[in-house]
Each structure stands twice: as structure tokens, then as C-alpha cells.
Symmetry: C2
Subunit: 243 residues, 2 copies
Amino acid sequence: MNGSNEAHVQQKSETPKGRKSPKLKRMGLHERAAARMRTMIIRGELPPGSQTQETRLSKELGVSRTPLREAMKVLAAEGLIELRPNRSPRIAGLAVEGIWELFEALAGIERLAAELAAVRATERDLARLRTLQTRMEGHHRNGKLDDYFAINGEIHNTIVRMARNTPLREAHETLISRAKRARYLALGADRRWSNSVDEHASILAALEARDSEAAGRLLGAHVRQTGIALLETLAPKPKLSAA
Amino acid sequence: MNGSNEAHVQQKSETPKGRKSPKLKRMGLHERAAARMRTMIIRGELPPGSQTQETRLSKELGVSRTPLREAMKVLAAEGLIELRPNRSPRIAGLAVEGIWELFEALAGIERLAAELAAVRATERDLARLRTLQTRMEGHHRNGKLDDYFAINGEIHNTIVRMARNTPLREAHETLISRAKRARYLALGADRRWSNSVDEHASILAALEARDSEAAGRLLGAHVRQTGIALLETLAPKPKLSAA
DNA sequence: ATCGCGTAAATTGTATGCAGCATGCAAAAA
DNA sequence: TTTTTGCATGCTGCATACAATTTACGCGAT
């Protein structure tokens, strides 16, 4: 909790909390507000389905309503909040159905990314991937959950970037932010560490072999498996209409 | 004392062009502004790379800067305009490279959509698709270019909706709006009408046969072909790094 | 003539005030 | 007691006023 009761303007050098982005460029208030809200939503501090009054939030974040409303529009476009006319915005719900759709779409995007990456990856790309894989295996052995997840996510992002396709990467980003929220819900849900690590290894092998089809198929299946595992921890009774 | 009593708003109730949605819900000013700008950008009335001053546009659209700025954020999220700090927003560029990436991503999304649709389509869905196909063939024979394009787009949208995956549909929508802009540039560029019609027929057949893999493969290839044809009319010398 | 610098104009970013709509409570009628 | 109508309140939507930042321009020095 930050100082909501005092000090609305700590404009100077409030560390814009580069979560994982090393780029510390100074952002406008609406960007900061959006970033702040994004992490609040992902962490569940703003629970799904809850309503967010502009005035309240603006005071809480220390900005006026104008930039906050702009931030709302952005988050709505990302699918994190839901805007209804003349009503308080609502944090997007997180139904089981929706989560599965999310991972399904994500799997499709990452499949394509892997297919392209298999063709377009440079040796540097592959080297970086190998490094990440090694580090992830280390965290896996040591049981470092947070680090494991961080590297895991970075591997996926790296593969998507290796596809050298900006629109694809952007679409991936927005879906990922939503998926992270679900993942946070079922914190540390992924008990299939071992499977996951092995799958990543297979994917890496396919990429190194420049096997487009295999890389895509494996990564797609991997993402779907992750989604299924997530759903199983959330709802003991998974009645998926799997594809 | 505001300019609303007389002003330049000649089109008070400009039908906000419900894309194909029969729901004519009255939208807020920022939504209307966004819709208006969207079509202006697609039609090239706001040329790629051009700068848009808030004050100018707000007067031109007959709204104040506040809702206009909100609209800007939305369009930026859709990738139609580019926002830089303390500078005039810029209409997103339309380089050949970027267009190809766009169609590549679109092909991936529609491939997945077709795969899912092949499994999930109801008989009603397929019937609707057959109707659309027939109508499109009619427009094709009669050389009705506009109608042909309209139906064509609707077929693609229908297939995506048949996948019953909201995030996927949303991602598709934003990419489509960008693609339309490119398509408008090379107006009536698609001289491969006949091919296109045949490809659609094949896709429909695959869907009816519930052949997931074929439907996805065919639709993906079809979209890529469309992109290639588009690029060939834009740049006589296509130096694509095709996949 | 060119570069540097400082001031002014223009433009974006933020805050605030006001009007309209929605919701809840209270009062009146059945 | 139950239902309906009117009113009060709070919140969103928009416009405008204000602050900060960038850009343009002119003047003087090298």
C-alpha cells in the first residue's frame, strides 16, 4: 500500500517500478496509472468482478480522474477491465470457460511463433534460449519457484520475439497479461514442473533442428497443457471440451 | 459559449456504422470519435505517418479534447496510431514489411479459428456459411466488387466466431482493422477473385467434413495468399522472406 | 554566415467544474 | 403491509481552465 492518505504528488522520481522491463523511461501519469492498475489486477488486489470508482481510485493512485480514465480505456482494450456506459468500470471476470479460451488462443499464437522462429532464429537467439533453459533447469532443481516462473515466461517471450513479427508479439503480450492473472490466482499451481521442463527441452531441440512443424506443435501442446493444469487446480472437476 | 450551438457538427447523428452488429446502442462521444477516426484512417483520409494535433481534430470532430484523447488511447491499443510522449500522435506507418507481418499473424489466427470451427460448428453455422458462399459467388459472377468484399470479410468473421473463442475473436478484430487499411490502399487489388472464391469453397468443404487440420491449413494459406497478392500490387518487386 | 542561447508561441498533459444518468430511499396510495 | 412515485445523492461523461514541455524564432557572438 502506498501513501494514499498523503502526498499525492511525488512526481519527482517515483521509481516507476520497472517490474521486469529494464526500460526506465519516464512515463506520463496515465501510463503509470495503467501500469499500476495492471499489476494490481494481476495480483488480485483488484478482485475480478469488483467495481472501481474513478474518484476513489484516482485519489488512491494520486492522479486526477482524467489520466485515470485514459488508463481505463487502455486496460479495457487489453481485456482486463470492462466498461459499461454510465456505470463504474468492472474488473473483468475470470470464469473457468474464459481461462480455457485464453490458453487456447495463446497456444495458437505461440504455435505460429515457434514455427516462424524455427526458420528465422539466429544462432544468438538459440544460444540465448539454451542459456535460459539451463538456468531454468537450475531453478527447477533448487525449487526456486519464483525464479523458475520468471525464466519460464521469458523463454516464451523470447520465442515469440524470435518470430520477428510485431503484430503477433503484441497480440501475445495482451493475452499473456490476462493469463498471468489467472496464474496468480492459482499461485504456484504448476505442479508439473518436471513435465514442463522436459517439454521446454523438446521445443528447444525442435527449434535447433529448424523443424517448424514440430516446434509449433510442441509449443502449442505445452501451452494447452499449462492451461489444463491451471484449470485443474482451480476447479477440481475439469469438464473441458478439449480439442 | 461553447461551439456546440452552431459549430461544425453537421452530422449530428452520424450512424456510427455498426459494423455488422445490428445493435445500434448509442455510444459515448469517445466511442464515436474512435469509430470515426478508425474509418478515416482505414480510408486513408488520415494518411500513414501524418501527425494529428488534438485541437485540430477535436474541432473537426466536434468534440472536446478529453474524449478525443480517450479515443486516441484506444486506437493506439489497436495499433492504428502511435503515441509519443509530449508529441502529436502519428498515424501508424504502413510499410511493406509490416503489412506482411500483419497477414502472417492473421493467417495464424484464422488457421486456429478454422481448426476449432471444424470441431465446434453447428449445422446452423455451416448453413449460414453455405449461404454466404453462394451469395459471394453471385457477386463474383456479376462483378460486384464492393458486395463481394463485404461478403468475403463476413465469411472470415463468421469462421472466427464459429471457433467460440472470445480472446481469439478480439485479437482477430484488431488485426483485421489494420489489414483493411492496407487493403484500401490497394483498392480492388485482389484480382485473384476466382482463386479466392475457389479457396473459400475448399475451406467450406473442409469445415463440413469436420477436417480440422485441412480447414486450418487451407484458411491459413488463403490468408497468406491474399497478403501476397496485396503486396504485389503495392510493390511490383516483392522481396519477401516467405516462410 | 553559422552557431548558441534565450524568450515566446504552440501543443500536449493534467486538474477541476458542471451537467446528465442511475440507483436507493422515502413518502404516498392501494 | 405492499406497491408506486418522487426526490436526494453519487457517479460518470464532457468541457474548459491551467501547468508543463516542446518547438520556433530572433538576436547576438564568434
